[in-house]
Subunit: 420 residues, 2 copies
Amino acid sequence: MEKITSLPGFRDFYPDLCAVRNYVFHNWRETARTCAFTEYEIPVLEPTELYRRKSGDEIVKQLFHFTDGGGREVALRPETTPSLARLAAARQRDFRKPMKWFQIGACFRFEKPQKGRGREFYQWNCDILGENSPAADADLIATAILVMRRFGFTQADFRIRLSDRNVWSAFLASQNVSPDHTATFLQIIDKLEREKEELTAERLTAIGTSLDAVRTFIAAKGADHPPLMAILADLAARGLDSFVEIDLGIVRGLAYYTGVVFEIFDLNHGMRAVAGGGRYDNLCNLIGGTDLPAAGFAMGDMVIANLIRETPHANALMESWLASQRQLDSFIVIADEAHRPDALNLVQSLRAAGFSCDYSYQPAKVGKQFQTAEQLGARSAITVGSEFPNVKLKLLASRTESSLDAATIVDSLKSALATP
Amino acid sequence: MEKITSLPGFRDFYPDLCAVRNYVFHNWRETARTCAFTEYEIPVLEPTELYRRKSGDEIVKQLFHFTDGGGREVALRPETTPSLARLAAARQRDFRKPMKWFQIGACFRFEKPQKGRGREFYQWNCDILGENSPAADADLIATAILVMRRFGFTQADFRIRLSDRNVWSAFLASQNVSPDHTATFLQIIDKLEREKEELTAERLTAIGTSLDAVRTFIAAKGADHPPLMAILADLAARGLDSFVEIDLGIVRGLAYYTGVVFEIFDLNHGMRAVAGGGRYDNLCNLIGGTDLPAAGFAMGDMVIANLIRETPHANALMESWLASQRQLDSFIVIADEAHRPDALNLVQSLRAAGFSCDYSYQPAKVGKQFQTAEQLGARSAITVGSEFPNVKLKLLASRTESSLDAATIVDSLKSALATP
């Protein structure tokens, strides 16, 4: 029979890979908690219209989309922001503002799989709705910096590149360029670093400005734009300004951003964008007919996991967390099969008390059972044999052994494992 | 513009509902940890062939399935066991046996949505691969009982109904019924409680046995079947036998079970099945061409969440967990806008130290900020004003207030919140 494998661009999370994913999730969730974001979740499958309304017909070919058994046009979510806008618009009166919400889950894109980009990937979304001040933008950026530092990254590893699309609107006005050219102009700016200089210059001239004017403006780093200055001052108060640089060349491709935009860039491994976001004050209205200012950012699991692996100090932090997760509190060694029922009773007591605990399903030599305990990363082994109700507790790191009464095993194990 | 809503049978997890989901996930994951299961995950989208090979063409109409942009027949996973069999068969040599693996994630079924059954639902899967002894079956059942008790359910709330399909094979042999009738026979048994007595009797007679013989056999409760007796003895050693009853009428509809089967039944709210599972020793071979004995069970999030809500002692446990999750460690009250930078600095220090912490983005009266602190469930409020670097720490439960140096705020808050 032909072997069935997973689809291209989809991942099988065997335990080792799943543990790495869980490490990423753990830091995402802990950061969201400390920064006072509340978790929500949205369906994996949504009406295709939701994405069409936000991004136009073009987006559909990048989706896993189909007609369901009830004749509905549906799509696997490529992102969660349109759904968030749908939820927020539908019930915004029920929640105090600002709404600081986060979400972690799988998203899907039908595109060519490559390193750091799969067809199924996990994403962390942090959004602040109902607040349009730079203070909220700054809090989002502080959250993004906090998660990077929690992963162990330092100022030498990454930078936040900060910009504001409104700065460019002011620029275009000063150059007497029609606002109709704004979208075209932002696309030119988005490609500034990748496109040939002559072509860029030609395109800018065509809409009534010049490459020189753009470069001079970028060099000024938006120094007279109050929102950007307010964000920098806010982050400076937190001691985080050295993580941020104004870079007006960042405009973010997505059409729906309306103001401040930012990206986390890695500084050492190809300058990849690790996360990105910005202000999107019109989306809740477009999706749900409700005016609600909003800003947020998203981080995917694939780029950040690769970056952790490639950065020794971040990788060491992860490895230490992974090792702590692999630990088993106790392995019950059954030295005398006649006492298997007593051993099972201990297993039950320890698990009910919150200890992780395992044992051998089959009779086995004591030496083999100790070997299994080591393989499972057990911190302790409890030997149940003919001396029962006396049992032996061995701490596997220090090799110290003591004799105990089975009746008090929960307390004994608690104090034994509490000692470092 | 037309309002876009979620698809029928799909849920919008607003924060309150998401918190309930997280409570269920928390208990699932904690139980899996104490019982020494390791987490894995599989793709949400799989080749349709995977499900067709396990369950035949009939299953396809219950799937969300389509042809992707690359011409592949694909389906949203309706369950995870076939994928687990795929993973295990592909790399079983890499893992020590028994493999105790668990998974938590969304599954999808295209069927009529009703109470406790959605088109998208979450499921917890616990499986033991590479071990065919009743000891493994007993450990799975013990795990299922442990999670129910962790949710606060007692012996008065639920029961494990235990059976073994092989008992019926022995019965059919004793009645000289051809093994070819086994599938038909198990379908009759599966419907025993729901079907009209005359029809059942007629069908049994047609294949060469009788309703009387079946009833007498069920009344004997498999007392001479060694695997069932071994499981009962194992659970009795753990003090869990009173949670279990042999009920040979339970055969589980799914064709792939090969031996022991069991269900968790609720005793007070319509006798719903809360979870179910059993032994499926042939599936890894069928899916991946590798012989690997296996057993497992699954629990969905919808029935268990409803049952918790309907059971006061379980609901009280959940509410207390939910309240603890809603808490914010500290709200920073900015009494003097001139000191906002100092307040932001405190926010940063507290968050970096692991405290959850929030503040007002806009200038607001002190009274209003305290009101926000209460609404956010803050345990403490730290007032930053003109006396800075002296700040005031107020514990909101006890209303006690103290004056502190901002430089030592992390340690001060740690000890203040540690005191109950």
